[in-house]
Amino acid sequence: MKPERRITRRRLLQRAGVAAATVGVGGALAACGEEEHPAAQVATNVDATDLAAPPPTQQPINCMVTAFFTHDEAETVDAIVARLIPGTADDPGAREACVPAYIDHKLATFASFSTPTYFQPPFAKPVQHPSGPQPHATDSILVEAKELPRYGFQGSSTPQDAYRKGLATLDKVAKKQHGNRFVKLDEKTQTKLLADLEDGKVAAFKKSKAFFKMVLEDVYEGMFSDPVYGGNRDLAGWKLVGYPGAQRAYTAYELRNGPQHKRVQGLRDMPAMNPGVPQPHVILPLAGTQRTESR
């Protein structure tokens, strides 16, 4: 059963009103299906186009990782991200930029995926031989293992499950190979173990490649997206690569010669557009899927 949430008639009419007033058109832009209904249940996917929703305005005030991960998991995640983008107080890496808090917050915010995901069976099952079209598949679809990467993400776990299981497996592997949890290993050993995960060289961790990829992508997100999402603390990721962030505009001169007097900044530092027009005060989930929302 897909999670659903309620949208009130008032809010929808507010939004439709803003839209029509903005372009000043008198034509009928009826939002069919947005009428009040006794059981006005609207699938969460409506959010994907609900672009009036502003980004979160409340940045977490610290780097606390308490929303999704357990204490032990948080320690492991902290150690992993510190190896993926290492840093110090003077040269921040993922740990210093609060990337663990970003991941923690993301996993707690979304019930499953944060990006639009088709998550219906049958799921792919790797085999060692060419497998044919299989027009009547039921439980799974057999795919030759070496061809499977061409099909992109084909996982059958949510990110939440994948983290829980993956972090536990990683500690199990660390204990077996080195006699201690991942977080207790020295940095060089940690780095080597992560490289083995990426290369799929750890026999006891079957899905290590997919796990590694998921974590690395989350680290990029946490380090390099707008600080309103909880990571990229003090714009560390953007300063690292020399990116001025969310700017309203560049001149033609800047396009040719580089930025002139630009301060590195996030979304909240951008000047308002049309500040005389009131914003609809609606905060909705970000464009994701399957988030249970009570309002």
Binding site: K2, T22, V23, V25, G26, G27, A28, L29, A30, A31, C32, G33, E34, H37, A43, N45, V46, T49, L51, A52, P55, R83, L84, I85, T115, P116, T117, Y118, F119, P130, G132, P133, P135, H136, I141, L142, V143, E147, G152, L194, E198, E221, F224, S225, D226, Y243, A246, Q247, R248, Y250, E254, L255, G258, L267, M270, M273, N274, Q279, L286, A287
Partner: protein
């Protein structure tokens, strides 16, 4: 029991750009029209006022079709299993008012006169043997000359920016010398170009090639269109493709045709309305469409004409899903033609250079602030001694680079995209490296098509569309040739080093973004034997159903489709207004 609505003259599936064009042309002359849009409403203000947010738009695809509800399955060939594209990859179809033409890039092309008579041209110049085995390339049935005035009207309606290269046969320096003649130039001058583009252009000139600035649907200065819409000039903000434009510099239905259409009072858009199928009556003609609203309630919208105006892929699926006694295999499919001649595009980067210590400002600008050459596109070069037909654009890598989705493409010396050494790489080189990019032709083949998937269904229980597509030998040979040409240009650009070169085309995969230019499947032509529609997009076996957009293209030239989508739609709108409505349900000739 479905809710039945009052009859209208025209109902369109989707409220994207072609629907808006038809509405702007027809509703202002008294035609009543309803568009059923699966996504929600959005306008420049307030929706795009604060959208400089890479996470939300580029990573989480805020403006794309919600894959939770439906996606597309893919397999490399008919003997392989098909799996759904579970997360975004190869293309980004849009949903919501205005469709994909809101988050598009704005690269604006006319196809060449030879593109429209592809098969005839190859046979005339090289003989029939030159056409690859199994390749079903064909002529469009219309000529460039017939379309020219529609191209012109579309470009002037949307405020195109560029430098003409050929006005009525007179070559103009600085423009594309290979383009087919225009009746007049662009309404706005070309956009500015980044240092990488300038370097690319200088190298090309040195090599005797002919660089020019990308023609664009982004206004290079403030401009008021013929309808009275006010558009701002481009701010080079760096948030363009996958984003809505907050100053209306990037042309979209929202700032061109939709306001005109809605002002006519004869046009209505219903959002969050998902069309399930086209209904047909006893004679086999369409009677309207059935759709569901956001609450799951079913509706029937009767109409005299049904326009299938969604994205290429959905247009194919709509025809295939519309089965009835009169059309047991779907509308337009009485001869099994729907889904055939599905084509795509070649678009990876063969070569990447690094200019150590230089800042290339790749995060500014947009996909059109670049330089480009047509010397190796289409049949602009002699293929007599080459093992392939067709060609490719080559251009300096588009700008608008965002850290979150680009740092992972850089590697340290061990090939890793993480760790201390990689961190130093991105610190010193994130804005110092750039590629040369191809955008090449895609030919149709017998084993390359779309049909309904037997295993996967959408949220409403209907089969997903299944794509069978892979590179063929002609594309591999074409790539090998243009990759070498790219390398020559890159060397002339004097990089500190070449960090990546792909002499052979990488295996096609669904994961990596290519382009949102899948074309064909409901192709136009001169006879029902070889096509689904006539050159107006009117379906041969169901003449009150029209298809719009790139699904009509028999094969995909080496250029983005939108300019031609606009011109073909303008031509159809004119034929409907002047002739079809006088003799309804009859095939236009």
């Amino acid at each position: 029991m479905a809710v039945k609505h009052a009859r209208v003259d025209v109902v369109t599936i989707g409220a994207g750009w072609t629907a808006a064009m038809l509405a702007a042309k027809l509703c202002t002359n008294g035609t009543s029209m309803v568009s059923l849009e699966q996504g929600g409403t959005r306008w420049t203000y307030p929706h795009f006022a604060h959208d400089h947010d890479s996470l939300r738009y580029s990573v989480r695809y805020a403006m794309m079709v919600d894959l939770q509800r439906e996606t597309w399955t893919w397999r490399p060939n008919p003997n392989a299993p098909a799996l759904p594209m579970r997360q975004y990859g190869t293309f980004n179809p849009g949903q919501g008012l205005g469709g994909a033409a809101v988050h598009w890039s704005g690269q604006l092309w006319r196809y060449l006169s030879t593109d429209f008579r592809y098969r005839s041209h190859v046979i005339e110049r090289y003989g029939a043997k030159k056409i690859p085995e199994g390749c079903t390339a064909q002529d469009w049935g219309i000529t460039y000359d017939e379309l020219e005035r529609h191209y012109d009207a579309f470009e002037w309606d949307i405020g195109a920016s560029g430098q003409a290269g050929n006005i009525q046969g007179r070559k103009i320096p600085g423009g594309n010398p290979f383009e087919s003649p225009r009746s007049r130039g662009f309404p706005n001058p070309p956009l500015e170009v980044t240092p990488h583009g300038a370097n690319f252009a200088a190298a090309c000139t040195e090599l005797g090639l002919h660089p020019f600035t990308q023609p664009s649907a982004i206004t290079s200065r403030a401009w008021t269109d013929p309808y009275g819409n006010h558009r701002g000039g481009c701010m080079y903000c760096g948030f363009c493709t996958r984003f809505g434009c907050e100053v209306d510099a990037k042309a979209s239905p929202l700032n061109t045709h939709l306001p005109v259409a809605l002002n006519s009072k004869n046009y209505e858009v219903r959002t969050h309305a998902k069309v399930l199928r086209i209904e047909t009556g006893k004679g086999g003609l369409a009677t309207g469409v059935t759709y569901v609203d956001a609450h799951g309630t079913e509706h029937f919208q009767p109409a005299d004409v049904v326009v299938v105006s969604a994205f290429t892929l959905e247009n194919n699926r709509m025809l295939l899903l519309s089965r009835s006694k009169a059309h047991p295999d779907g509308i337009g499919n009485d001869r099994g033609r729907v889904g055939k001649n599905y084509t795509y595009q070649i678009y990876p980067a063969p070569v990447t250079g690094l200019w150590k210590g230089e800042q290339l400002n790749m995060y500014m600008g947009n996909t059109c602030t670049i330089k480009i050459i047509y010397d190796y596109n289409a049949d602009n070069f002699d293929h007599s001694d080459l093992p392939f037909i067709g060609g490719s654009q080559l251009y300096s890598e588009p700008c608008e680079r965002e850290p979150v989705n680009s740092v992972g493409t850089m590697k340290d010396t061990k090939g890793r995209s993480w760790g201390a050494a990689w961190k130093d790489e991105i610190r010193s080189g994130w804005d110092s490296q750039a590629s040369i990019v191809t955008e090449g032709e895609s030919l149709p083949y017998l084993d390359q098509f779309v049909d309904l998937d037997p295993n996967y269904r959408d949220k409403w229980g209907q089969p997903l569309l299944r794509i069978s597509f892979d590179w063929h030998q002609n594309q591999r040979d074409l790539w090998r040739y243009v990759a070498q040409r790219s390398l020559e240009i890159m060397k002339a650009m004097n990089p500190t080093k070449i960090v990546d070169f792909k002499p052979e085309i990488p295996a096609y995969n669904i994961e990596k973004y290519q382009s949102t230019h899948p074309t064909g499947g409901c192709i136009m032509g001169t006879s029902p034997e070889h096509s689904v529609t006539n050159t107006y997009g009117q379906v041969w076996d169901t003449p009150n159903v029209f298809v719009t957009g790139a699904a009509l293209f028999p094969q995909n030239p080496g250029a983005n489709p939108t300019g031609t989508v606009g011109a073909v739609t303008y031509r159809t709108a004119e034929a409907m207004a002047e002739r079809y409505f006088k003799h309804p349900d009859e095939l236009l000739t």
